[in-house]
Assembly symmetry: C2
Homo-oligomer: 204 residues x 2
Amino acid sequence: MNQNVYPEPIQKLMNFFKKLPGIGEKNAERMALAAIELPSEELENLATTAKDIKSQLKNCSVCGHLTTEDICPICADSHRDHNIICVVEDVKSVFKFENVGNYTGVYHVLHGLISPIDNIGPENINLASLVKRVESLKNPELILALKSTVEGETTTLYIKKIFEKKKITISRLSYGIPMGAEIDYLDIITLDKALEDRKRISEE
Amino acid sequence: MNQNVYPEPIQKLMNFFKKLPGIGEKNAERMALAAIELPSEELENLATTAKDIKSQLKNCSVCGHLTTEDICPICADSHRDHNIICVVEDVKSVFKFENVGNYTGVYHVLHGLISPIDNIGPENINLASLVKRVESLKNPELILALKSTVEGETTTLYIKKIFEKKKITISRLSYGIPMGAEIDYLDIITLDKALEDRKRISEE
């Protein structure tokens, strides 16, 4: 790749885009050239947003979610059920559940999963605050919404164990066939789980 | 999609990204979350770049290429051959040739192609300045590097016609089989062109 192919401000914009996931040289060029065609106002807004974004955002002191306040709008919402805590790996999961929009409980963001192979133990994720939080509630219920990898299942088991002696309802998301998927294209582990977790539909 | 799922600065950053080509909701979220993990310095640099980029960039007064100067570094480079002008549709083509790095002539950016169906005539693209430019040169040569669509070929023919009575070498890029392509997967028009434009390799 030649040096100085792009005018300096274009190159700078491209350099920024290339630091983002999934953006290569070609895409960065396309995005930079599209960006300079936008109205000046859009670029001024971007400048203002980019300048302050790091200092504006922090983690919610209750659940660890990303927010501009001390306590996030979800934890501050009195219409939500604060006894039901959905435990998630990262803020992306919160955005996902909120985009779906049917969940009315609150969240707890672990900011990671237990992974001995990567030297990530229970003390390295946002777990201690979950224990404290659960202890402060009268009738807590935990929904563990972690992915079905070794790390996800290790973390699920660990959390289950912490609260073993307390009378707390703990559930995990169901495993099974994704909606609309063709059965003969499913991987064997998913199919095996779907069989194991089968749900009775006849009356008991 | 729910309102207020994302903290405001994240939403603003996502809104900007979504205005760029090929970036949807999910990608914008992923990019915004990656952006806030970058060092503050990167975001401050982005802010500075975004703020001034529109006012810093203009078109080269000679060739029409994007530049921060009145005359672009390519036109200002005395080591390049200013008699050989590669005529291209847009600045992306210039970046492409410069990235390849073997071309030592200069460019002329048309900023469009003749397209009667879209009401784009010769007067709507950067052609008049090409005529003037060619007239000012002693021994000009034009390389028409336009795409092989109806618009590209119309523009190529039109330019050929303008300079018909002047003694000017005009060539176009060759059509043919892309390097590495399987012949049985080629479209018939490309194959037909490759046959028509075949190149003698035995000695004459």
